[in-house]
Symmetry: C2
């Protein structure tokens, strides 16, 4: 595998096919440059709706698209399935899948983030996060299996444990999961099960901080809290998790038995900084300048969750899809300018398109900075925005319509338990899959 | 778990939630009887389209529905997720999941069939069949991974091997898989890959017998053969497979390296007969009389692939979904009659709705016994029939439309490689999942 430039054209290597990496590749598509995008997965994921895969409203394929198809129409863009484990800035090469390497003229690092277990790596398999299709499928299966086991159980205590879900982390993902699990339970337990006492079903949302959705203004966080509580979600604020075992969580003094445990308690950047042997900032993020250029690494750029960009007020931009998307688009354009020999390129500026979290059907919050929005209208806006994003993402209108349809009609779409996970997978199994 | 009858009502236990078991349960739904349906999976599968999951045209959830939802509206029907391992006709109990048991007044065995490796169980993980979602997903991932590896390979011989698929068995499933794989390759290799020489892509269809689709009349089998060959499928008739290794198949004298190996070479009944300690017929099938009643087992009935029913001419009915469906419906009705004390119940008669196999887009064959059909019109009829069956199966019109849409527009829908199978799973892994 060589990355040498053809016909003297520059070769841009992009690591990561998420929102940022793809936006960058699209900008460079069918232009006078060679591009190689490397990802360890063959698909890009519409993560904002991943929680709906975990709660059986969507199929994985509804929100995932093969990177090859996304970029198929750009003849100058190559896609490689491979896992990067090193970058040599001196020789300008990227090494992947042990032994293989590719050289670059410009390198874009868009490797995103993963869930942070704050030193408790052993918790990862017990309480999966929500970053990959596999994790979403795993959570979905644990949830549904717990229901099935409860249906068969004759021991009320065991039933109660199996029908308890614990969501750790009160950020957007935690709030969305807690709301969606509670809706799933209410939708299926009464109607489709015969033995289960639906009153035993409960969802616990545990947040170490003093409030939910810390990034949002007070009015919205209060609204989120009240709405969730009205949906039957039990919220524990200022409560920290000290231990997780396969079927229980230690919350403060109390040990809670649970059939499904979800981790949504904060992310950490990908290990990309280590590849470069860089001094990192903000828990492992790669420091970049106003042009997303990595300090002291010529022609190496980083964007999205794995980088630390300070806006004009010296404030770091949040870890959001829209940031990665905007940075990717910006970087694609500015790289073209640099290759064209343009002297000065404008620095990146983040345009806040609004921060949102959905709490449940008919309930969401929007924060546009200057003004806020909550309730039914916000939910409707959320749904419309996501259908449009999904259509744009997938170029598959029917899928989006179907999603909207299922979602509005409470038709639980994808309640599948794979044959291969009827028993909760062994630690090693999951470890391997989350590598 | 007790199966004792409530309010003196009879308790019917149905083992298996396939076409037959569900049809039977539906007939008994909301009638004056208690019903328990046991299946080791939580979903029922529209197997006629499973090959499209294996070839990335459909998502698993598109053709699978939670049994609980299918039967949710029948308040007298209970669904149990469990794996049956014994039947005691004397005490009228069914034991499942080791230790658990349930008692019945009437027992319906609808456990279907599995792929037969004719004594080579070690081939099962190397050449998966096409009976479960997991197998379909596995095949899909092997196919797509082989393409990805070929894209990265610089060794032409290795590329050729990775781009070779071998389908073993020339029945409907084998023909459908061979056609669909060849269409998938032609659809994606040229457009989405950069390094691959698409001319290296090939599909081998191996049949030990003298012709494809042996159950169909000459005219149709010839048509199928010619059509497949025009699609670029290489057909080996009268060729037997003597050995399968992880990446190669021994066909007669010749060893063929392959990136994906599919097994479609015949089925065998479920081990249900052994539970009953019965004298079996026709390679392990349960002999039943004209009323589907198991010989020498009072109040035990068997239907579909796992049973052997002889029609009025003494000819065994074929192992088809429509047979199981008709027998299930018949059995439900006749059980109600027996409980109502009706003296004599009419024997089961099979009504042939036509036997079909799809070869590729715009090509299918239909055999209605008296007359046949092939080509574009047959394909169109096949597509319409399956959309209707799917709608009826799923009660989800949009899914069916979406499928039709994708199928007609050649839009490859679900080209996902799970993170957890980037490397082909270890034998043990698959063994476990196919249990």
């Amino acid at each position: 595998m060589t990355g040498k430039t053809r016909q003297g054209r520059s070769h841009v290597v992009i690591i990561g096919g998420g929102f940022g990496g793809l936006a960058c590749a699209r900008e460079l598509g069918n232009r006078d440059v060679d591009v190689t995008l490397i990802d360890r997965r063959n698909h890009n994921l519409f993560q904002p709706l991943l929680y709906q895969v975990a709660t059986a409203a969507l199929s994985p394929a509804d929100i995932a698209e093969p990177i090859r198809r996304t970029l198929g129409r750009y003849r100058n863009v190559k896609v490689l399935l491979g896992e990067v484990h090193g970058v040599d800035a001196a020789s300008r090469t990227v090494s992947f899948d042990g032994g293989r390497w590719i050289s670059y003229d410009y390198l874009v690092i868009a490797t995103g983030s993963e869930y942070n277990y704050f030193g408790h790596e052993d918790w990862r398999p017990l309480a999966p996060g929500l970053k990959t299709i596999h994790e979403a499928r795993l959570l979905r299966q644990r949830l549904l299996l717990a229901f099935e086991k409860a249906e068969r159980s004759t021991d009320r205590e065991e039933q109660k444990a199996l029908l308890t879900s614990v969501v750790i982390g009160g950020g957007p993902t935690g709030v969305e999961m807690a709301g969606a699990i509670s809706e799933l339970g209410q939708a299926v337990l009464k109607q489709d099960f015969r033995q289960i006492d639906a009153s035993l079903f409960r969802v616990l949302l545990v947040e170490a901080g003093p409030k939910l959705l810390a990034a949002f203004p007070e009015t919205l966080t209060d609204y989120a809290k009240n709405t969730l509580e009205n949906m039957g979600v039990q919220i524990r604020l200022g409560a920290s998790v000290s231990q997780i075992s396969p079927n229980a969580v230690q919350i403060g003094e109390k040990s809670v038995r649970a059939g499904c445990i979800v981790w949504a308690a904060g992310i950490r950047p990908s290990p990309a900084a280590q590849w470069l042997g860089l001094e990192t900032v903000a828990r492992g993020r790669i420091p970049v300048d106003m042009h997303l250029s990595v300090v002291d690494c010529p022609d190496v750029y980083a964007l999205g969750d794995t980088s630390q960009f300070l806006d004009e007020h010296g404030k770091p931009v949040p870890a959001l899809a829209q940031v990665a998307k905007q940075q990717g688009r910006y970087l694609g354009r500015s790289l073209l300018k640099r290759m064209a020999g343009e002297a000065e390129v404008k620095p990146f500026r983040f345009h806040n398109r609004g921060n949102t979290a959905v709490i449940g059907r008919h309930a969401a919050v929007f924060d546009f900075g200057r003004w806020q929005m909550k309730g039914r209208l916000a939910w409707f806006l959320w749904a419309v925005v996501h259908v449009l994003l999904l259509v744009n993402f997938e170029k598959r209108i029917l899928v989006s319509l179907q999603w909207m349809w299922r979602y509005l009609t409470h038709n639980i779409g994808a309640r599948l338990i794979d044959e291969n996970t009827r028993n909760i997978p062994a630690t090693t199994d999951i470890q391997e899959t989350l590598r």
